[in-house]
């Protein structure tokens, strides 16, 4: 009897110490996530403006206004459009990973040069590409002019080109990251799986279709889901490179949010936009998880 009581007080100390150890992270969770989440929901139902000084409850008015705003829909369209870069990047990364997943002397040099853009200063990269894309003296157009004698496209000034320019830069910066992940995934594929295909009389295409692709499906899923979540929150590149872009051709949802909050000081409206983004991310993630049962192979 006495002994049991001793054990339980020993356990209780472990419980208390454990709770104490997770306390700071829970403080962050409660204050900086839960509290502000509720706060932001509340704000989204008000006409809170930090310059005009208003703070009235207006129910769904913010949401109605936003959903009626053609520029908001433009920002949704642009954000989705810019995500074309995700599958393009994944495809190129897979090709490169497969090329480098063999015994090649000096392949580290290739790997490092493809990965390099991912470890540089974000702003420096955007400034650099803005220079490269410059219609008059950017190096791309200078080369085009030297080779063909004709002027190149107005990369950042032409509404039809802006998004393509942003996608090219995004793929260039992100492809190395994805390649490393695919490369790791490829190295995890057991060799005998390929031998089975050989025994069955299959060719390289069969190996790719029935071994490589399924074995890479969980990495693919990870890359896709983090890419989409990041893509829906795109902001910095556009902000620096183009602003909203000609005819709002580069405005993203978060840029739209920033404009509402920090150019118009409409905090209620900005909160409403943030909730729309959050719901979009939640729905897209949910759909991806649901669909993943069909194509993601877990071992």
């Amino acid at each position: 009897m006495k002994k049991r009581k001793k054990v339980s007080s020993f356990k209780r100390r472990e419980h208390l110490t454990g709770l104490l150890f997770i306390a700071p992270m829970y403080l962050q969770f409660l204050v900086f996530t839960l509290f502000f989440l509720g706060y932001s929901l509340y704000m989204s139902f008000t006409d809170w403006n930090i310059v005009a000084g208003t703070k009235n409850f207006i129910a769904f008015e913010n949401f109605v206004q936003i959903l009626k705003d053609p520029i908001f829909w433009k920002s949704v369209w642009n954000t989705v459009y810019l995500m074309i870069g995700i599958p393009i990047g994944m495809f190129l990364a897979l090709l490169m990973a497969m090329a480098l997943n063999r015994k090649l002397p000096g392949k580290t040099i290739f790997r490092v040069s493809v990965y390099l853009p991912a470890v540089t200063s974000a702003m420096a990269i955007v400034i650099l590409w803005r220079f490269i894309y410059n219609a008059e003296y950017g190096v791309i157009n200078l080369v085009i002019q030297q080779l063909t004698g004709e002027a190149g496209p107005n990369w950042l000034g032409d509404p039809a080109m802006v998004k393509i320019s942003l996608i090219i830069m995004g793929v260039w910066r992100g492809v190395g990251n994805t390649m490393i992940l695919f490369l790791a995934g490829l190295q995890n594929v057991p060799r005998d799986y390929y031998e089975v295909v050989d025994v069955e009389g299959g060719n390289s295409l069969h190996k790719f279709r029935y071994v490589t692709l399924p074995m890479l499906s969980s990495v693919t899923f990870y890359v896709l889901i983090t890419g989409v979540i990041g893509g829906l929150q795109a902001f910095g590149d556009q902000f620096i490179m183009t602003g909203a872009g000609p005819e709002h051709s580069a405005i993203t949802i978060v840029y739209y949010l920033w404009q509402k909050g920090f150019a118009e000081y409409d905090m209620g409206g900005a909160s409403a936009v943030s909730w729309i983004v959050a719901v979009m991310i939640f729905v897209v993630t949910l759909i991806q998880f649901k669909l993943s049962n069909r194509w993601v192979y877990e071992d």
Binding site: P24, L100, S121
Partner: protein
């Protein structure tokens, strides 16, 4: 023999393609460095020259006076130091508790934290700004420091995965020696976690170095600028075309610390990415 020839052909093909790819990937950097070493008048010369003639370092000296780059670096480090030191410790401590200790309702508590990972940062941005503003702390580094000091969920998740691979016997041994939980954590588990910590710290540092939205919203005066905000001033000079060597020099300088980290810790980088992507 035939097989070997085939392999040789494929490999040579890959060499050619990958060399082209690597040069394409590196070209923007080469252009950045090349421009930064040119004379003002030579930066936009046609036909383009890859190797500057003459090579001048003027831009690298000048840029410090034109934008508050040193202030930016100093402020970024002022944010990064407390956030990373305290935040990493707090995250590791929570991960240790979740992985190795008995806590009532542990799984539920853990799931609660994981759900947070799905909530995008922009949702809490606006009310946070309003509250920091009320406290009179907008245009100080505080709003960029305090939340991070309370830990980082994805880092905690990563540490917990890492710790679940370490046998519990380590704890029992230490407990028998009479060590308390905190002592067990600091003297036994922290050293074991060193590779995981190294990898995560680098990623976090990169995140802080490259953070733009946070500083953009909170910081107004130039004396509080971070690296990214200081660089942004270069961007707006782009219209004055003769400044390109300096703009590129500033960009090169801002890349150097990250490149040094990358070169020193390349192995940790790759391992950490692989663990979160392949096993996470």
């Amino acid at each position: 023999m035939k097989m070997k020839t085939k392999t040789h052909i494929i490999n040579s093909f890959i060499y050619v393609i990958m060399t082209a790819v690597s040069l394409t990937m590196l070209f923007p950097f080469i252009w950045m460095i090349s421009t930064s070493l040119k004379e003002k008048t030579a930066a936009l010369q046609i036909p383009i020259k890859l190797i500057p003639d003459p090579v001048v370092f003027e831009a690298y000296l000048e840029v410090w006076d034109v934008i508050p780059l040193l202030t930016g670096i100093k402020n970024t480090l002022l944010i990064a130091a407390p956030v990373i030191l305290c935040g990493t410790f707090v995250s590791a401590l929570a991960a240790f508790a979740f992985a190795k200790m008995e806590i009532p309702g542990k799984n539920l508590l853990f799931m609660g934290l994981l759900v947070t990972m799905m909530i995008p940062g922009v949702v809490t941005l606006i009310p946070q700004y309003v509250v920091w503003g009320r406290m009179g702390l907008v245009d100080t580094l505080i709003p960029l420091i305090v939340p991070g000091m309370l830990g980082n969920i994805s880092m905690m998740f990563f540490f917990r995965q890492f710790l679940s691979g370490i046998p519990r016997e380590y704890i029992e041994a230490a407990r028998i020696d009479g060590a308390g939980w905190m002592k067990t954590f600091i003297t036994i588990f922290m050293p074991l976690m060193r590779p995981a910590i190294a990898a995560q710290v680098i990623f976090w540092f990169m995140g802080i170095w490259n953070d733009f939205l946070g500083p953009l919203i909170y910081l107004d005066s130039e004396s509080n600028y971070t690296v990214q905000l200081a660089l942004r001033l270069l961007n707006s000079m782009g219209e004055a075309t003769s400044e390109y060597p300096m703009i590129m020099a500033g960009s090169v300088i801002s890349c150097v610390p990250l490149l040094i980290l990358f070169i020193c810790f390349q192995r940790y980088f790759m391992d950490s990415m692989v663990i979160s992507g392949v096993k996470g």
